[in-house]
């Protein structure tokens, strides 16, 4: 069952300032589907377009970002919509936070530092639904927060009185207040310590298991995907280069970039030499021709320089975009 379906979406940033015009092709032909009741991990480095992908999926597309082409369909049980046809007001009333919510990297950007936590809850719920009875609402929030394993008096504290991990968990509580169909987590644990990261990710997994909704987890940390995601999509330079169930991606990756990422993962107990990849992630304003990975690919052929590889279905759930795989060479 598909919750969200994207077909050949292209979203670019167009800037024109002092005579220099630029088009940053952050999402350049992405087709993907999010299913219900799954954790989908998007893996990619900085400037691979994952932040723009999130903006497109959550409908927060503002100039200079523009969706140039492609379609995005929502299927939230109660209503189905073409995302490009929803107006801003409907987005705010019905979709944002009720169907799609997000957890961001810096929890401080969600929690107002000069107000108590409960006020942030009131602000969010108030904007989307209205709060007729304040006392009942506060009881409800205490219940919600306790169910997630947080001490209820956290609501009466200020953000700076809590540790980073606790703040992030409060941000998750905030994001789940309407029990949305899709939770987008953008590098939720990148700034956190490894022990706290474990707790926060466990909380996210528990929430997903209990409400059977969908979590889109975006992080560059592959080890996190290995332990949390059901399916993983590898993004490179604005395109998805490989996608499949977690087990498959980690045990039998087919795309040279995925292979490199997985083979170069350092592990405790393993001192064998890991090789690094030459070059650097490409500039999305001026990406390489053909397959965007070709300048750094150790197995690049002539065809890779000129032709963009199409997605090939290797199995029902595993697909990859690579000429080498197509020709049976890898």
């Amino acid at each position: 069952m598909s919750l969200l379906k994207m077909e050949d979406v292209r979203a670019y940033y167009r800037t024109e300032v002092y005579g220099i015009s630029r088009s940053v092709r952050a999402v350049d032909g992405v087709s993907m589907e999010l299913h219900k009741n799954e954790i989908y991990g998007v893996a990619g480095e900085s400037s691979c377009g994952k932040t723009t992908l999130i903006k497109v999926i959550s409908g927060t597309v503002k100039p200079p970002l523009r969706i140039e082409s492609g379609s995005i369909h929502y299927n939230f049980g109660a209503f189905q919509m073409d995302m490009r046809k929803i107006d801003a007001e409907e987005m705010r009333q019905n979709v944002r936070w009720k169907e799609i919510s997000y957890v961001m990297q810096g929890s401080m950007s969600v929690l107002n530092p000069v107000r108590k936590i409960i006020r942030s809850f009131e602000d969010i719920v108030g904007t989307h639904q209205g709060i007729p009875d304040k006392k009942a609402f506060q009881e409800q929030m205490r219940g919600h927060v306790m169910k997630l394993g947080l001490p209820p008096d956290v609501l009466n504290l200020y953000p700076h009185q809590l540790s980073g991990g606790m703040r992030q968990r409060v941000a998750i509580a905030l994001a789940t207040v309407f029990n949305p169909s899709l939770i987008i987590a953008d590098e939720p644990t990148t700034a956190l310590d490894v022990v706290v990261q474990r707790g926060v990710l466990h909380m996210l997994k528990d929430i997903q298991a209990e409400s059977a909704n969908t979590v889109l987890l975006v992080t560059h940390d592959l080890a996190v995907h290995a332990n949390v995601a059901d399916r993983v999509g590898i993004m490179y330079a604005g395109r998805i280069v490989e996608e499949g169930p977690t087990q498959v991606i980690f045990q039998a990756p087919r795309h040279p970039y995925t292979e490199h990422l997985i083979n170069s993962l350092p592990m405790i107990g393993d001192k064998t030499v890991k090789k690094s990849l030459g070059g650097a992630p490409p500039n999305l304003a001026d990406p390489p021709s053909g397959c965007r990975f070709h300048p750094r690919c150790p197995l690049a052929m002539d065809r890779c320089r000129t032709e963009t590889p199409e997605m090939i279905m290797l199995s029902e759930r595993h697909r990859v975009a690579c000429h080498l795989v197509e020709e049976g060479r890898a």
């Binding site: 707790g199 080890a223 290995a226 592990m267 393993d270 992630p281």
Partner: protein, 346 residues
């Protein structure tokens, strides 16, 4: 210096800050009685690992002579750092000890070309007399890190990738021919595909250029990959330290065990351990102020003595440990050993 002499001797160093204001405040002990040494004849990579708030950056600042310890002494090449006061002495120190910082995009001014820093370092440390010679020195240093002057010439920081800038940063640090490089989280802000290049570079510096590296990190996996020895810090205290195969391969201190278990591992065989739920505390500051062992608040094996007395340093099974569980030669059942990760054993 002879081979057995100490290159760097950190002797019972403590750094405490006064926090709060005139009326209500207290002491925060950021670095608590830390002792270790690096040896002149044996270049090594020594990691200092810990979570944020563990005191590792404060310790790094002391080693860079940017901060004075409240107690204890740091000696570099036989000279007590607190006696380095004049500009000339400080220059001499800096020519031997150089930093590499965490954020590649802040290491150099966004308004200046990166090569300027290389040229200035070469001239100011006397390795060149004019710009032309300095450019040659810079080019040499860049080659050591896998780049060249032609590649980075006339470029501003935002025109290079994070990985490239970090390599330039290491090149700059190499120009004065230092004996010790202090790298503070050098790869935490670098992309995954470029990270190993920098990490491998540190190995090369140790093996080929015979430069020792103090590698400060919270990433235990890369620490395991390149370190010879490692020290695990918690709230300013080094709880366990020693050869990395021992400390991370067979952690004895309950905190090290927790850390090691909490690192998410790609190998399917190790995922079950990570999936076990843990309790997270809500505030960290209280742990700093604890008498006795800093981990007593969360330790599953806590005893009464842990809450009141500071565990002394002991040598246990090839590493230094601060834990009452192992006091007087006791070897409890809790010692957990780690399966080595291998993706094939699914």
């Amino acid at each position: 210096m002879s081979a057995n002499e100490k290159l760097l001797d950190v002797d019972h160093v403590t750094v405490s800050f006064h926090i709060g204001n005139f009326l209500a405040g207290g002491q925060l002990v950021a670095v608590n009685d830390v002792t270790f040494a690096l040896y002149a004849g044996k270049p090594e990579i020594y990691s200092i690992a810990g979570e944020s708030g563990s005191g590792k950056t404060t310790l790094a600042n002391v080693l860079l002579h940017d901060l004075e310890p409240t107690e204890g002494k740091v000696t570099f090449e036989g000279r007590d750092l607190s006696t380095i006061k004049s500009r000339r002495d400080f220059m001499k120190f800096m020519s031997q000890v150089q930093p590499v910082f965490q954020n590649p995009f802040e290491t150099f001014s966004p308004l200046r070309r990166v090569e300027e820093y290389l040229i200035e370092t070469a001239i100011q440390f006397g390795r060149a007399k004019n710009r032309r010679d300095a450019a040659k020195v810079a080019d040499e240093a860049l080659h050591q890190v896998g780049l060249s002057l032609a590649e980075v010439s006339r470029r501003y920081p935002h025109e290079l990738s994070g990985g490239q800038i970090q390599r330039v940063s290491v090149a700059r640090a190499l120009i004065p021919n230092p004996r010790l490089i202090l790298a503070d989280e050098p790869v935490s802000m670098v992309d995954a595909s470029l990270r190993m290049a920098i990490v491998n570079l540190f190995k090369k510096l140790r093996d080929e250029q015979k430069v020792s590296v103090i590698y400060i990190t919270h990433d235990l996996a890369t620490a395991y990959y390149i370190s010879d020895r490692i020290a695990i810090m918690l709230r300013g205290v080094v709880v366990e330290s020693g050869p990395v195969e021992n400390v991370l391969g067979n952690p004895l201190h309950p905190y090290t065990q927790l850390l090691q278990e909490s690192v998410p591992k790609p190998a399917a065989s190790e995922r079950e351990q990570w999936a076990q739920h843990i309790e997270l505390g809500s505030t960290e500051v209280r742990e700093y102020g604890r008498l006795g062992c800093k981990y007593a608040g969360r330790c599953p094996h806590v005893m009464d003595v842990c809450k009141t007395e500071v565990p002394p340093e002991q040598e246990v099974e090839g590493r230094t440990l601060r834990c009452f569980l192992y006091h007087d030669g006791a070897m409890p059942e809790t010692a957990v050993s780690v399966q080595t990760g291998n993706l094939e054993t699914a």
